[in-house]
């Protein structure tokens, strides 16, 4: 059926695990675009002959519906992928893990870089240019100091005022929440009860 290739892209998204990005399906995108092109060419040809044969109208309508459908599936495919990328920026920061990068196409990498800098620029502009990091402070604070367990050998970590702690696997520490939020997000430290 017409539109099936483009629709397969949507199915692919639907079946992929929440939050993950399957490899950009360049092939299916290209085929859907080819279908668009061929439907369009046929419609142009038919429109030119409409004067002689008005029975062509129905076909034009039908192909037009398929054109719109293809476009919608293609754009929805792109859009929903960007939404997932967006979430990654907020959760993983401006550097994407390599297994994510390999699944992106070049324009997606460009989009991510641009989005990343839009977010950064916005955060820097807050409070009359003093800046506010919105990727942390995700939960209401309970204490200034929190107990954390180190999940990997991280090495030295500098706190405020030059104080240094050694973060080695399975060591536990009592650290200022404000300073170790990023390490918790990155999975270096685990916040324990």
């Amino acid at each position: 059926m017409l539109g099936d290739k483009a629709f397969s892209l949507i199915q692919e998204l639907d079946r992929s695990q929440h939050g993950t990005l399957p490899p950009f399906n360049e092939d299916a995108v290209r085929q859907a675009l080819e279908e668009i092109d061929s439907l369009f060419q046929q419609n142009v040809a038919d429109i030119n002959h409409l004067a002689e044969d008005d029975a062509l109208v129905a076909g034009i309508h039908l192909r037009h519906a398929a054109l719109e459908r293809n476009k919608r599936c293609l754009l929805a495919y792109l859009y929903n992928r960007l939404e997932r990328l967006r979430t990654m920026r907020w959760q993983l920061g401006s550097v994407l893990p390599s297994d994510v990068r390999t699944n992106l196409c070049e324009p997606e990498l460009e989009w991510f870089a641009q989005y990343s800098s839009t977010v950064a620029r916005y955060m820097r502009s807050l409070g009359d240019g003093q800046g506010l990091d919105l990727t942390v402070d995700l939960k209401p604070p309970k204490n200034l100091y929190i107990e954390v367990r180190c999940l990997q050998d991280y090495g030295e970590f500098e706190l405020e005022e030059g104080e240094v702690v050694l973060l080695s696997k399975d060591s536990t520490h009592f650290l200022p929440m404000e300073h170790c939020q990023h390490l918790i997000r990155q999975g270096v430290l685990q916040h324990v009860k």
Binding site: W111, R121, G127, D137
Partner: protein, 225 residues
């Protein structure tokens, strides 16, 4: 160091309106309420970036003053704790707004453009910048991968009217009445019955469509809960 210097500071909500002088405590209360409203509302509420800036400024000043405090000072821990709370609420509020700005980008840009009263502006200047950049990045992405490959002129357009994601203004919300508001119309979306009128009495709580109370929310007659 005198803590009193910081918080006795009278903050003015807007520079050009001297009658509207508010205290830091009032600003904080207002921000907490804006935060809650933003979290619960189906659409983006008007921006209040002066209040946000004022609070962020307060955080910076307080932080600077605390640097001079001895580590063992009881006040240090308490003030810091409060600062973390304030920072959290501001950050969460702004994050929530960004999420909506990204989702409803085109719709909000259009709405924002339609307003001539700057005090009702939906987006702060920074948010406007963000929204424009976001909208542009999406359109350019669509263009690169799909639209420019389509020869059909009309089909190759980014049709914002058709594509923009629009908030559900009829979404159901919980609310608390702050000031009596008689005769609130609950329009009948379903067309089965006549429109219904409800008298909202201060202190009461209700569950109804956002569209029915949007104006009352703006004027402070109700709050979302």
């Amino acid at each position: 160091m005198k803590m009193a210097d910081i918080t006795d500071d009278i903050l003015s909500a807007s520079d050009d309106d001297e009658s509207q002088v508010v205290t830091a405590a009032e600003v904080l209360l207002k921000i907490e309420s804006l935060w809650r409203t933003e979290r619960l509302s189906p659409t983006l509420e008007c921006h209040q970036s002066e209040l946000v800036d004022c609070m962020l400024d307060q955080i910076t000043q307080m932080n600077n003053n605390l640097r001079r405090c001895k580590k063992t000072d009881l006040r240090l821990a308490i003030h810091r704790m409060e600062l973390e709370r304030v920072r959290y609420v501001v950050a969460s509020y702004l994050r929530c707004r960004l999420l909506k700005i990204e989702r409803f980008t085109h719709y909000l840009l259009e709405k924002h453009g339609e307003l001539d009263d700057p005090s009702l502006a939906l987006l702060s200047p920074q948010e406007l910048d963000y929204a424009k950049s976001y909208a542009q990045s999406i359109e350019s992405h669509f263009n690169k991968l799909v639209l420019r490959h389509i020869t059909h002129e009309k089909l190759a357009e980014f049709d914002a009217k058709k594509m923009s994601v629009v908030p559900n203004m009829n979404g159901y919300v919980f609310l608390k009445v702050l000031k009596d508001s008689p005769g609130v119309l609950i329009s009948d979306q379903v067309g089965e019955n006549a429109d219904e009128e409800v008298d909202l009495v201060a202190g009461d709580q209700h569950l109804m469509m956002y569209s029915s109370i949007q104006e009352l929310l703006k004027s402070g007659h109700v709050e979302l809960i």
